[in-house]
């Protein structure tokens, strides 16, 4: 799938933008703070309905404006779909073909994968960052995963409230059943996804680094058998009452990254960490294409400046082989090894203009 047109109003520092992207490479060049990242954020919002980098959706609206709007034309399977998301006050409305639709009907219309310098948190950060990466990746392949994750989180908060309120066993058991239903599906999806991701990740890492340590990714599930979740919570009930929260379950899972068997968080050098992140994303994209016949749109935010020449070269090698559409921001065209099949856009003070080439 790819974007054939993008229209933005009052999103961050972008007052009014209209862009007709190239089917392959779209390079946004400009100084920092001019709106390059805002443009990628707008596309990310259009695809996922999730704000990036802001605590409250309201912060996406340009200073002094009433609301924000991002619209896009997506070419997928030979058909053009019109997507449109707007924020007015606290109200967000997503439309498909001009008609307001629920998130469930909207998702899947546009798949994006984002690369940012912050991604290195995947290796260095806590399990929560990796679970978020995993769940977002699973969601791209199974829309119901989000539904399960949201329901699981809500039921977990409810069980924790019950634990603190001294609720009886019957009440707790009812919530454990709900948790087991959503958590069981969530866990099974994570396991299947991580198993499919693992070989592609190891391969991509070796391709980037050459000879050297072996990298692995593996789901460390807190409870390994989805069918055993309810029994685990039942067995932990009294201890959980003392703790005041639910200790075990998929919310304690980790997507473990290791280098020669040792935690990458502690062992990996800067360069190895960046290579791992790159390998994770490449594996994710390959998996989407190979097993789900989805070619996502890639959004790369100023990643070249973070990579050494060798890994940068490997990234562009991958992009050259990737047939889909790419949006990439940079402060300097010289960082990018993209000469053909491209459109270059100048970004300055919130205005985006295509350069004649």
């Amino acid at each position: 799938m790819r974007l054939t047109g993008v229209e933005i109003r009052d999103f961050r520092n972008l007052a009014e933008v209209e862009v007709f992207p190239h089917r392959r490479f779209n390079v946004l060049v400009g100084e920092n703070g001019q709106g390059k990242t805002s443009f990628l954020e707008a596309l990310y919002w259009l695809a996922t309905l999730r704000p990036l980098r802001v605590a409250r959706p309201r912060e996406m609206v340009r200073h002094g404006a009433d609301g924000a709007r991002v619209a896009g034309e997506v070419l997928a399977g030979g058909l053009i779909h019109r997507l449109d998301v707007r924020l007015a006050g606290a109200r967000r409305e997503a439309r498909r073909e001009g008609k307001p639709v629920r998130a469930g009907a909207y998702f899947g219309s546009l798949a994006v994968i984002l690369f940012t310098p912050d991604d290195v948190g995947l290796v260095r950060g806590g399990p929560g960052d990796r679970r978020r990466f995993l769940d977002r990746a699973v969601f791209n392949t199974r829309v119901g995963h989000l539904d399960d994750a949201v329901a699981y989180k809500r039921a977990l908060q409810a069980r924790n409230a019950l634990l603190r309120d001294g609720a009886d066993d019957t009440m707790l058991a009812a919530y454990e059943d709900v948790l087991g239903d959503h958590g069981g599906r969530m866990l099974a999806s994570r396991q299947a996804y991580a198993a499919a991701l693992a070989p592609r990740f190891a391969h991509a890492f070796t391709a980037i680094m050459g000879e050297g340590p072996t990298a692995r990714v593996e789901l460390r599930a807190d409870v390994e058998d989805p069918a055993a979740l309810s029994a685990t919570w039942r067995a932990e009930r009294d201890r959980d009452r003392q703790r005041g929260f639910t200790r075990r379950g998929p919310h304690a899972d980790d997507l473990e990254l290791t280098l020669d068997g040792r935690p990458a968080r502690l062992e990996a050098s800067q360069g190895q960490q960046r290579a791992m992140v790159l390998a994770l994303k490449i594996a994710e994209i390959e998996l989407l294409e190979a097993e789900h016949q989805i070619t996502p749109v890639l959004l790369l935010d100023d990643v070249s400046s973070e990579l050494d020449p060798r890994r940068n070269a490997r990234l562009f090698e991958f992009l050259a082989g990737f047939g889909g559409q790419v949006f990439i921001t940079t402060t300097d065209l010289g960082f990018l090894a993209i000469e053909a099949d491209r459109r270059v856009f100048q970004v300055e003070s919130g205005r985006i203009t295509a350069l004649e080439e």
Binding site: V101, R102, A103, G104, A105, F107, G108, R142, V143, G144, L146, D147, A151, R154, A155, Q157, A158, R159, A161, L162, D165, A167, T170, M171, A173, A174, Y175, D177, V178, D181, H182, R185
Partner: protein
């Protein structure tokens, strides 16, 4: 010009209604003030009357003028079958299908520990108190986390008493083409599939 107190009180009263914010409340209040006098008096009378004459049925908690309500009083309806709904709108939706000939039980809510709603707030005790002679409870709560937990809670209490507890299926609306059902609805329908 300072607003007179009664106007502010009316705006405040409207703003407590579900789905009404401050702005809409003010619009409603000024509409009432600008309209013919009988609009306000009819509204006031209807509001007073509904509170004075409508109460909860002592058996099923449905809102009714007569106690027991027309469903509980109807001897042709199967007293061995109870459909549990969250609210009166749910009861009316089931009733419109014309398929259900049993009795109802209206919870007026659903379990929600995060909002401080427990079993005592939603007429669960009244439900358990009327299970003599009941063979099946059909739980028709919403497919939300709270609706599911409410259904499972009822199942855990009523099941051991020898009552069969069932849950309405959630999924693809009848008559709608599969390709038009949204993906979340479809994935739920798949997760809740049954043997044929």
């Amino acid at each position: 010009m300072a607003e007179a107190d009664p106007i502010r009180r009316l705006i405040h009263a409207f703003s407590r209604l579900p789905g009404i914010g401050e702005k809409s409340a003010a619009r409603l209040a000024f509409f009432v003030l600008d309209a013919e006098p009988h609009v306000a008096s009819e509204l006031a009378a209807a509001l007073t009357e509904v509170r004075a004459r409508i109460r909860k049925c002592s058996l099923c908690q449905n809102l009714t003028e007569q106690d027991p309500c027309r469903f509980c009083a109807d001897g042709r309806r199967d007293a061995g079958l109870i459909c549990v709904v969250e609210n009166v709108q749910g009861l009316l939706a089931i009733e419109r299908t014309g398929e259900f000939r049993g009795r109802y039980h209206v919870l007026h809510g659903r379990l929600s520990p995060l909002d401080g709603v427990g079993p005592d707030q939603i007429h669960i005790r009244e439900l358990l108190g009327r299970l003599a002679g009941v063979t099946e409870i059909i739980v028709a709560t919403s497919p939300s986390v709270e609706g599911e937990a409410t259904a499972l809670y009822i199942q855990r209490l009523a099941g051991p008493l020898g009552v069969r507890v069932t849950r309405i299926a959630s999924g693809v609306p009848i008559g709608s083409e599969l390709e038009y059902a949204d993906q979340v609805t479809l994935s739920r329908a798949l997760a809740g599939r049954r043997d044929l």
